[in-house]
């Protein structure tokens, strides 16, 4: 099953099912999707949109530190959303931070989905000991809060790797840590479907005609789980983005050289008491908008794909 055929199937479900109809009928879902799309575009175009390069030390000017929104800089720069303690333009930092948050969120959800689907397929197909090991691990992990697992994985790599090395690999480590804490749901869903499908006649028929069972399962089950996986992924995307920002806020996620929305809030948190509210709340607000748009869309998608609830 090629990628393009998967895309065609999903697109087909959108166009001929009533998903698109329901989508157009729900102003809230349309608004959430539009906001989400706007944020993604802003993040992708950060290089073009940001007035200043947030990573260029030359653009930071200590004399312009902690200016409130709408201030003029020493050399006549305009800081629409103010500056941070290093004199960086908040707007630019936020755009780049948004990009980092989105990249980590999307990558970790993608990784979690791939891990979960594969482990679920293997567990359901092999059964026996392998199934038991995978699913018991899932059970145990489900008992633990996801954020704790991500925290532990991140904490352990921090203890193992020397500081400079860890800093260089902070983002991949973070992505793996978050993915490892969210794979369980996918695995359970896929395994359940495999167990149902492998008893069906067509699997038997395919085996008789010489097509291997794994291949049959793959070709038939993957399209069936696309709907549920899409829903889980959308809702998990919001969770993953929040987890990343939370870890970065706690100072165990991304280092200061790679600002994400969470680490920007962390920086601002130190200046809350001096009344410099914009350094923490503005990136926070952007984070909330992102999380809210994904959450609302995911909520809508779940209801739309579940006819039992759509009354």
């Amino acid at each position: 099953m090629s990628v393009s055929s998967v895309i065609r199937r999903v697109a087909g479900a959108w166009l001929d099912g009533d998903l698109l109809y329901r989508f157009r009928r729900s102003p809230v879902a349309v608004a959430a999707a539009a906001l989400g799309a706007l944020l993604v575009l802003a993040a992708l175009g950060a290089d073009l949109l940001a007035p200043y390069d947030a990573f260029d030390p030359a653009s930071a000017n200590a004399a312009d530190a902690r200016l409130p929104p709408g201030s003029q800089g020493l050399f006549g720069e305009t800081y629409a959303l103010g500056t941070d303690p290093q004199g960086r333009d908040m707007l630019s930092a936020m755009l780049y931070g948004l990009r980092t948050s989105l990249v980590v969120g999307v990558a970790s959800v993608g990784l979690a989905a791939v891990m979960g689907v594969l482990l679920g397929l293997v567990a359901g197909y092999c059964g026996g000991l392998i199934d038991a090991i995978i699913m018991r691990t899932a059970d145990v992990q489900l008992g633990f809060p996801a954020i704790l697992i991500a925290l532990l994985i991140d904490g352990v790599t921090r203890a193992v790797l020397p500081r400079e090395v860890h800093e260089r690999f902070a983002m991949p480590v973070l992505i793996v840590a978050i993915a490892a804490s969210y794979w369980v749901q996918y695995a359970r869903t896929v395994r359940g479907l495999v167990l149902v499908e492998r008893r069906r006649d067509y699997v038997l028929a395919a085996r008789v005609t010489g097509v291997s069972t794994p291949r049959t399962l793959f070709a038939h089950i993957l399209p069936n789980v696309l709907g549920p996986i899409l829903v889980i992924a959308t809702i998990n995307l919001a969770l993953a983005i929040l987890t990343e920002s939370t870890l970065s806020f706690l100072g165990v996620g991304l280092p200061a050289t790679q600002p994400s929305l969470g680490s920007l809030v962390r920086i601002g948190n130190e200046f809350v008491f001096s009344g410099d509210w914009w350094i923490s709340t503005l990136p926070g607000l952007l984070l909330v908008l992102l999380s809210l748009s994904v959450n609302i869309f995911g909520d809508w998608l779940r209801d739309a794909l579940n006819p039992k609830l759509a009354q």
């Binding site: 018991r136 059970d139 145990v140 008992g143 633990f144 809060p145 954020i147 704790l148 925290l151 532990l152 991140d154 904490g155 352990v156 921090r158 203890a159 193992v160 919001a238 929040l242 920002s245 939370t246 806020f249 706690l250 100072g251 165990v252 969470g262 809030v265 601002g268 948190n269 809350v272 008491f273 009344g275 509210w277 923490s280 709340t281 926070g284 984070l287 909330v288 999380s291 809210l292 994904v294 959450n295 609302i296 909520d299 609830l309």
Partner: protein
């Protein structure tokens, strides 16, 4: 009885898994000898220490010894503080437990009734509004809620303290902030911050479960029997809703424990969470290991409590458990 034993076995498995992970952390992450002796120690000193710590023994034996010690609350010395980990953890535990329990009470006390109410008044504008606000509650990052609450109630209005526990009273080994005015005032912002997400979650889950139950045949049949609306909604609807909701509330307690790390960081609340986040930043593995085991223990205890509750309320489990017990 067999049912309970089965669940106990499962809880034991989780504990064992946590112990294994924390043992691996302890044994293989970083070199314990290096961590304890520092750079200056000679090779001979290191070997002596290694033998003294039992690190030369077979790994399985070491694990058994680790579990044996853990059962007695011995998790070794903190790399950072040079004190026994057990003492550090016990000293911090009351602060975190008080915070978690109070916020869970807030979340359940408001979330459950609101969830029931929004389910029963599905069409009303107010219920729709409550539901929309609850989605915002789900989407808000906890740390941001804390920061905004501090900005508004501590910095702007100056009504409530923004850090620490206030005055505490020592009751035996337990230090409580619940008996002093400043302790209670200090608890308000952190516990509300910690409660917001759980409240929204409990509200939405209760609503979903209640709607599910109100759609069932026995509710339709109860209406056909001409029962009063209150009897249908509460005696039949709510009771059946509570079974899954209590499970969720119980399991969420573990999450509250984890999220207290965030809240304790924002409010500098001197509990376990703050200890753990510092342990992660400093690579203080013994503290991490102890925390992991403690969370697993907490998880096991809650699971058993939830099962006992089910046993008390749900006759289906009671009978099937009994039948299996007799067999």
């Amino acid at each position: 009885m067999i049912f309970v034993l089965g669940r106990l076995g499962q809880a034991f498995l989780v504990l064992l898994a946590a112990a294994l992970v924390s043992f691996c952390l302890f044994r293989f992450v970083g070199d314990p000898v290096n961590n304890m002796t520092g750079q200056a120690a000679s090779l001979a000193e290191r070997e002596a220490m290694r033998a003294a710590l039992g690190l030369a023994d077979p790994v399985v034996l070491q694990f058994v010894r680790f579990v044996g010690k853990a059962v007695h609350g011995d998790f070794g010395m903190s790399y950072r503080f040079g004190q026994p980990v057990a003492g550090l953890v016990l000293e911090r535990l009351p602060a975190t437990l008080e915070l978690s329990v109070v916020s869970m009470l807030i979340a359940t006390g408001l979330g459950l009734p609101l969830g029931v109410w929004t389910a029963l008044h599905r069409g009303s504008r107010l219920a729709q509004a409550v539901l929309a606000v609850s989605l915002v509650g789900i989407a808000l990052p906890t740390f941001l809620i804390g920061i905004v609450l501090i900005l508004v109630f501590s910095v702007r209005l100056g009504w409530l303290p923004s850090f620490g526990r206030g005055d505490t009273i020592q009751l035996g080994p337990w230090s409580t902030g619940l008996l002093t005015g400043s302790g209670l005032r200090s608890l308000v912002l952190p516990s509300v911050t910690l409660a917001v997400f759980q409240l929204a979650l409990i509200l939405r889950l209760t609503r979903a479960e209640m709607l599910e139950v109100m759609r069932t045949d026995f509710i339709r049949f109860a209406r056909a029997r001409g029962l009063h609306r209150g009897a249908i909604q509460y005696r039949h609807g709510l009771r059946n809703t509570l079974v899954p909701v209590v499970t969720i509330v119980g399991l969420q307690f573990g999450n509250v424990f984890a999220f207290s790390i965030i809240v304790e960081t924002v409010f500098q609340w001197p509990g376990l969470g703050l200890l753990v986040i510092q342990a992660i930043q400093f690579g203080d593995i013994p503290v991490l290991a102890a925390y992991l085991v403690l969370v697993a223990l907490c998880f096991a205890v809650i699971n058993i409590a939830v099962d006992l509750f089910h046993l008390a309320i749900d006759p289906r489990i009671r009978i099937s458990g009994g039948a299996r017990g007799a067999a």
